[in-house]
Symmetry: C2
Amino acid sequence: MKLMRVTAPEDVLKIIDDNFTALESVELPLEKAGGSRISEPIISPEDVPGFDRSTVDGFAVAAREAFGASESIPAMLESVGEVLMGQAAPPIKKGQCCQVHTGGMLPEGADAVVMVEDTDVTGNMIQIFRQVAPAENVIHRGEDLKKGDTALEKGHRLRAPEIGMLASLGITKVKAHRRPLVGFFSSGDELVDYHNTTLETGKIRDSNAPALLYLAGQCGADVKYGGILPDKFDVFLEKSREMLEEADLLVFSGGSSVGSRDYTALTMKELGKPGLLVEGISIQPGKPTLLANCQGKPVLGLPGHPVSALNIFAIFGRAIIEKLSGQVGAIYQPSVKAILARNISSRSGRTDYIMVKLNKSEEGLIAVPVFGRSGMLRTLSEADGLLEVPTEKEGLSSGEMIEVKIWE
Amino acid sequence: MKLMRVTAPEDVLKIIDDNFTALESVELPLEKAGGSRISEPIISPEDVPGFDRSTVDGFAVAAREAFGASESIPAMLESVGEVLMGQAAPPIKKGQCCQVHTGGMLPEGADAVVMVEDTDVTGNMIQIFRQVAPAENVIHRGEDLKKGDTALEKGHRLRAPEIGMLASLGITKVKAHRRPLVGFFSSGDELVDYHNTTLETGKIRDSNAPALLYLAGQCGADVKYGGILPDKFDVFLEKSREMLEEADLLVFSGGSSVGSRDYTALTMKELGKPGLLVEGISIQPGKPTLLANCQGKPVLGLPGHPVSALNIFAIFGRAIIEKLSGQVGAIYQPSVKAILARNISSRSGRTDYIMVKLNKSEEGLIAVPVFGRSGMLRTLSEADGLLEVPTEKEGLSSGEMIEVKIWE
């Protein structure tokens, strides 16, 4: 029997990083660019803020005029009025001040703002109980960004803060890497479309297609479903070739039959060079995973087992989508800390993922492994997340503080 | 000067939980139900799996026929052929076995599967080198779910595993709580639409609208933008009333002007009882936040400061959207562990959120606080996430192991 040559998970991630590159860039309106990565640096077209602004509610003053002011010996200044939001501020002269709100423009003649809590108003005369340093409670024009500064580096992902910053600069369109299209096939003669209400003996519904299509969307890809491929090689290859013309990443959710796995491997060879890169991963669940580079496009062959397929796609499918989307630098995998409720054994030399349910307790979260003999989706649906047992470990002990990756 | 009555963040979350309820349910096709929460339990319409299946590649046998088999004294059985995927298995008799693949149907007469690694094939005679117990490497019909079992409880969120499980049951439609519609207004006379390329003196672009609309979408809501409200109370109220008829959550991104904050508070009173619930939160950034319940609908008044607005929406806006979407039980906020690079001071009695950048080092991730005098979006765009300094703490020390909530 031929043994599977397995690759360590971290090496698979490196292979992905080395083999594939970001997709070409497109111009997107800012409102539709959220989640994408910019394909060229963004240069600030203007100073931000565009004028000296107050960072508090209070009175704009020349700092020297309030010098030495205290609770017992307040300074006294005449208010010339109020800086209306969105309007130019009236200038102030010696002996004067001007009411200003947070974000309001600093009047000419003022260089600091006294907080409203440190003042008292009697008619248009303002008592000031605390001295301020020049520039106190003021943000100067261009302090955040100067015209010509790099606002965002190439590869930066547009999250809510970036969208806000670009909007504040009046940037309404960005050049970003195109969103990948994942072409998806199921395979295996035992599979029928999940819309079938009755099943013939021996058949099972294709549950991987809707689950993985949803997961791919969550990872930031568009998806196209090509249906269930029959265990006939010429059809398998022809449909795969058609899909690969359009898709940026081709994914096979393999049937359990040896035929469908063989066809997937053979198809990867036929679709273009350099071909097969990975023919197994030292990971559990998900060992029988195939990965190829067919003329620069990634082709991923997932195990047919639903939990394995989801686990592999969540780790490696996501990494491929990130790479195609223009990711540079680190990606942080958030997790929650919990106390392990029981011992877990694991084989050294393999990275194990264990499904856990989280329960609240006085000492913090308790992670209870959810075992199912079958390892079916029912079990995963009871789990809040996955616990990784690193390759070098032979298990984890009850009471250990561990990290759980939440399934979202 | 009137002092703001502030509420602790955890009390605000409790107020949200007590005041608002899940939206009505709608029927969704499974492919569009991802991320939503089911509004009634889902009962399994059939046994899963639907037949006894092998969990390995090997030979289906009657366990008693391989009793005592070992490397030195193998059992010998005649193979009657192969269980083809998706087809009923041929029955086996005394002295016989049948090749079966992972997921394949167990033949009548077999009660266990010998792994292919423990066999040797000579023509149609199979040598078996290891005995198996009855039921070994087999998952029985209904072992995962029996017909009539509760597959998912009410309120369960549909992630990829749940979608897969429902598809495997042939469930193509689900009843789920409707996705909330967030009605969104900006306010403040200093604001102009961010599509404006040139700015008049004193004006700033409305950057909160696109940033918060994107964030609301990420939180699982649909959004409707009502534009920038003028500092004219009658218009402010009329437009808010119109929007609240349609929206499930009304959000004001307040201008910095006192007027717009006053109008927001006044509008909350006019829109319906019980009215204002929170008029400030002991949190930094984001203290001047308003929250009301207007005839059962949540109305949120965000501070105008962009970083404050995003911080508040990411915590409390998200909590409201989750509640309207039918969330029951705990939500886990994933984070990454990092070593704090410098001391941070904080005021006790207030929950502080500090922006940090993460750098990799040999000891693990290092969290470096990103300070900007302005606290503007430029600073947040350089940050990977937020560090929470709990209410009771007066700061954190350099070298402390802390948790960083990643900004996604």
